[in-house]
Point group: C2
Chain length 277, copies 2
């Protein structure tokens, strides 16, 4: 028989939290940045790559594999606050503006128990942070990102170790939602984090077109060539100079500072110009 309560207060006093099964919630944080690879040819500009911040697991499960910084959400903290706290603890990075990415909740995504994970992402310019990274954290460059048919190959490298995965994108029927991701190959990446990484990369690819998100990963001052390179690695295709400059003109502001000494014609430096309000 269901008990009748006279008011919400009475009901709550009597409410037994253990009537429902409990589970754990974690949050994983995907931080993108840009790194430059020195070119041997003095004339060429440094080749840029996307990087992802990862952490080496020193405990089971997935001991000695790499994963995104993450951890358990505290019962007494807002979901949005958890990734900030955990990012600080895991990597020592602070003051980063995160946006929610997706919530992954397959039954067997964690071998310990039922754990659901809400992922967050952010773009930063890692050179603006002078805090020292925790020793177990490390930046991995995306050294390969290739899509053949419905297979996506990603290879990451931190200068020391190479890790990689392959995901099969399966079109979902009757929905305009994203694809289903199936991890078909995984070399040293813990949990379902390959899916998180690919989700973030696709989100970024979309958002770069209609937001100013990319400037979060640029330094204060940059050349348009550098900015174009970042667009090109995110979109994974070459852009034409004039078209790029037309579009970017509204979002940037030319300074009178010139970057010289690069072995070719110097470039003006630009800065981000916010047009919203």
């Amino acid at each position: 028989m269901k008990k009748e309560y006279a008011s919400e207060e009475e009901f709550l006093k009597d409410y037994n939290k253990n009537d429902f099964e409990l589970l754990s919630l974690t949050t994983d944080i995907l931080i993108f940045s840009v790194s430059s690879e020195e070119e041997s040819n003095y004339r060429k500009t440094d080749k840029k790559k996307m990087s992802i911040l990862m952490v080496k697991r020193d405990e089971y499960p997935f001991k000695d594999m790499w994963c995104l910084p993450g951890g358990f959400v505290d019962v007494k903290e807002n979901l949005d606050d958890a990734p900030k706290r955990i990012l600080k603890r895991e990597t020592n990075l602070d003051n980063i503006y995160l946006e929610q990415l997706y919530t992954f909740g397959d039954v067997n995504r964690d071998p310990r128990m039922r754990i659901i994970s809400t992922s967050y992402m952010a773009l930063i310019d890692k050179n603006r942070f002078d805090t020292k990274l925790n020793p177990k954290a490390s930046w991995f460059d995306i050294v390969l990102c290739e899509e053949k048919g419905n297979l996506v190959d990603i290879v990451l490298d931190n200068g020391n170790e190479t890790i990689s995965f392959t995901i099969k994108k399966e079109l979902r029927e009757k929905t305009t939602d994203r694809y289903d991701f199936k991890v078909v190959k995984n070399n040293k990446i813990a949990f379902d984090h390959p899916k998180v990484i690919l989700s973030g990369m696709e989100r970024l690819k979309n958002k770069i077109e209609y937001t100013d998100i990319v400037f979060n990963m640029m330094p204060e001052l940059f050349t348009l060539g550098e900015l174009q390179q970042v667009y090109e690695i995110i979109l994974n295709r070459k852009l034409l100079d004039p078209a790029f400059r037309r579009i970017i003109a509204k979002k940037t502001e030319k300074t009178d500072i010139v970057k010289k000494g690069e072995g070719h014609r110097p470039s003006y430096l630009f800065r981000y110009k916010d047009n919203k309000k």
Copy 2:
């Protein structure tokens, strides 16, 4: 002292689930459909409105208020499967393709205990479902949706009751993420569901531009006038006929069936044409 394990198997045998605080996860489901309001003028076509499927709460907390269909995620079921099961139980609707919307996790969003909720959304044509709705479920038309400055007013009506809310959209600093939503007025809507509803409406507004999602809420055959009306209520603005027809031409296919008897020039019926492979 941290114990050393020789293998992942050994670690898992020893793993104590209660080392971490547990919480509950629910899922809320936002179902959109279109309803038509009979026009008194025989010449005019029926005015369309967006509708949302809601459920009356018959228990505390929020007794007698309206909320989205939702419920607790089972420890043994995939997150994506929970909303399907719960939607069936709460409303009797089956076989609906849901996409994940957002995960809401403020500490006090549920007065009973710490509950985090992942919301899902779907668009359906409710007339295609001949299953009878559960008595506590009901379709609410969006009878008003107005944005003034950073305040959004929404009024819902099921023919019997009117419920409403006002949300303040606060621009987040330094992020290209969505706004923060603050519920500043709430008339009879349970939990933080006003936020879920508005998130869904904004998602829909975005997705209608670059996906074919809208056809999920259209009948098999429709006139372009009807389709245009649906676009207009979702986007909340008038569209010009020629421009609309140009865009929609790629996504639709003309049949040789004509809809007559409407008090004005008859219209050909169209059907959705999927262009993705």
